[in-house]
Amino acid sequence: MQQIATPVLLDMYRRMLTIRRFEERCNTLFMQGRIPSTLHLYIGQEAVAVGVCANLRLSDYVLGTHRPHGHAIAKGVAIRDIMAELMAKDTGCSRGKAGSMHVGDIRVGMPPAIGIVGGNAPIACGMALAQKRQGRDDVTVCFFGDGAANEGAVHEAMNMASIWALPVIFVCENNLYGASTPYGSVSKLENVADRAVAYGMRGMIADGSDVLAVYEAACDAVSFSRKGNGPVLLECKTYRLCGHSRSDPLTYRTKEEEALWRDKEPIKRLGEWFVAQGLKTTADLAEIEREVGLAIDDAVAFADASPYPLPEDALKHVFYE
């Protein structure tokens, strides 16, 4: 892992921290009633989106899920635009049309995230087909959960990606639960990645709490697909250190299990590694923390100062003009 350049490592640290603090702030704003609806927070899974997206370029695509803030921040959607969307403002990345489950910004390669579990997988194939036909050496990353792995749409998509050698990296974020349902109760296979064999595609597994491990696995997968070798199924073992949505009392999993994962959570882990390697001091890390806090304050201030859409704006954007 020493060969990952220090600026890349630092950027990954900053992005993971941005996601964490962003999500925590969202939770506060939700409790204060300033964010309507519900939220599926990404707390605990930061290393997956960040480690994968650090290998992407602007012209690569990312398809997010119902838990998309992390995907969006990692792909480069501005946190001001995301925050404004969550607060239902006209300046939001969907102009207040869609809310938390659909954040994205096509200008940075992320169409609106898809709230229908598994619904993004066939779309990823289509985007990758276009990339391939156009002779671009770009790739499409499709994030999906352990729960989504059991949707028919995901199976159809993996088979199509495989037969047509499409440049799709299917990134399964196996956080052990789909809502309250344990992965082990809905699959006979220990690993989602084991299914890759059945589609004739390459399967990989990474420690999703270790951003360096995710980065390295994704680097391999992305360059494999970029070279025209077809899709890869990359499973990242991870855990959400928060409820499924804001109305989840977390009574279906044990405190011991949570503690186990909290111990290996990705941000602290990378911070400690920096210090141990002598690359950064705790004071340096505190400075990053301060800057991230300011950026989030700025995003909230921007959203606060932004106008709401007009009621009749509901009629706009049904068709593309």
Partner: protein, 337 residues
């Protein structure tokens, strides 16, 4: 008599049917997990403790599978009650419902029955676009499906029991704002209609509507939440001397057409209120039926209040613009006089 919310009434209905008939079982996502939610809106909470996980069957997130398994089990002698977490996911299982469940009896020349129930929460509650749609009209258009939409606890239990005992596929549309789900899983702005529900066995027959308020000057037809908006509007209109009759069909297919027609023959005016968007919708079909069959009794144009033809927007200001309301009903009714 117990005072129950709709979520509780549905739960009691399921419990009683499961006790009465060993063929009845539930399947769906997150419905029976220990320490879990009891489905997206708590309807099946606690039932797996009583009936075990074989009869409260937790499924993978596989909507096509859920619908297909329900259909097959029903064809082979069981009585499944399946559910989706949000009605929007019915689109994922559209082939199984529209091509398979709805047509099996017809394709078999009347020899194969599909006695299944599919429950689906509908309605816009600030979730936007993919978790907020009202899908009733998509399914009223499919011959072979019976469709009910209870707006009270009494009807919820009675219709659920009737649905389980029916030999055809029955879709139950439930409104998220009417469940009265308790605790963390209740929705903001919920109406929580708590109502009297008998302890003894009863059903609400499929195909029978009800007059929620009698009146003489205008007929307002609503379903789910719009029944409550219509009742609030009727109360206000009474102050201006307009006597509104409010009808809740309760069953959408087969529709209690005669109840609506006889009301319109009396009042001479009709307003239908729905949360779905307008074009190709449920309200439009009722207007057409009345225009065809009671035209000469009408004193004013037939009117509908529907959402505009857009997806349900997320931002509360746009959502309020999109949704029907008592005020919109009052305005529309007044325009008829």
């Amino acid at each position: 008599m117990a005072m129950l919310t709709i979520a509780e009434a549905l739960r009691e209905g399921i419990r009683e049917e499961m006790m009465r008939d060993p063929r009845v079982f539930c399947l769906g996502e997150d419905i029976g997990i220990s320490g879990g939610f009891g489905g997206a809106f708590t309807v099946t909470l606690g039932l797996s403790d009583q009936f075990g996980h074989e009869r409260i069957l937790d499924t993978p997130i596989s909507e096509i599978g859920i619908a297909g398994v329900a259909i097959g089990a029903a064809m082979a002698g069981l009585r499944p009650i399946a559910d989706v977490q949000y009605g929007d996911f019915l689109f994922c299982m559209m082939d199984q419902l529209a091509n398979q469940a709805a047509k099996m009896t017809y394709m078999s020349g009347g020899t194969v029955a599909v006695p299944m129930v599919m429950r689906a929460p509908v309605g816009s509650t600030r979730r936007g676009t993919q978790h907020a749609q009202s899908l009733e009209a998509f399914f009223t258009h499919v011959p072979g499906l019976k469709i009910v939409a209870p707006s009270t606890a009494y009807d919820a239990k009675g219709l659920l029991k009737a649905a389980v005992r029916d030999d055809n596929p029955v879709l139950i549309f439930e409104h998220k704002l009417l469940y009265g789900s308790k605790g963390a899983r209740s929705e903001k702005g919920a109406l929580s209609p708590i109502g009297e529900v008998p302890d003894e066995d009863y059903i609400v027959p499929i195909g029978k509507g009800i007059i929620r308020r009698e009146g003489t000057d205008v007929t307002i037809v609503g379903k789910l939440t719009t029944v409550y908006m219509a009742l609030a509007a009727a109360e206000e209109l009474a102050k201006s001397g307009i006597s509104a009759e409010v009808i809740d069909p309760r069953t959408l297919v087969p529709l209690d057409k005669e109840l609506i027609l006889s009301s319109v023959r009396k009042t001479g005016r009709l307003v239908v209120v729905e949360e779905d968007n307008k074009t190709g919708g449920w309200a439009g079909d009722i207007l057409a039926t009345v225009a065809e069959e009671a035209f000469f009794y009408l004193d004013a144009p037939v009117k509908r209040i529907s959402a505009p033809d857009t997806p349900p927007p997320f931002a509360p200001v746009m959502e309020a613009y999109y949704l029907p309301s008592a005020e919109k009903i009052i305005q529309t009714v007044k325009s008829l006089f």
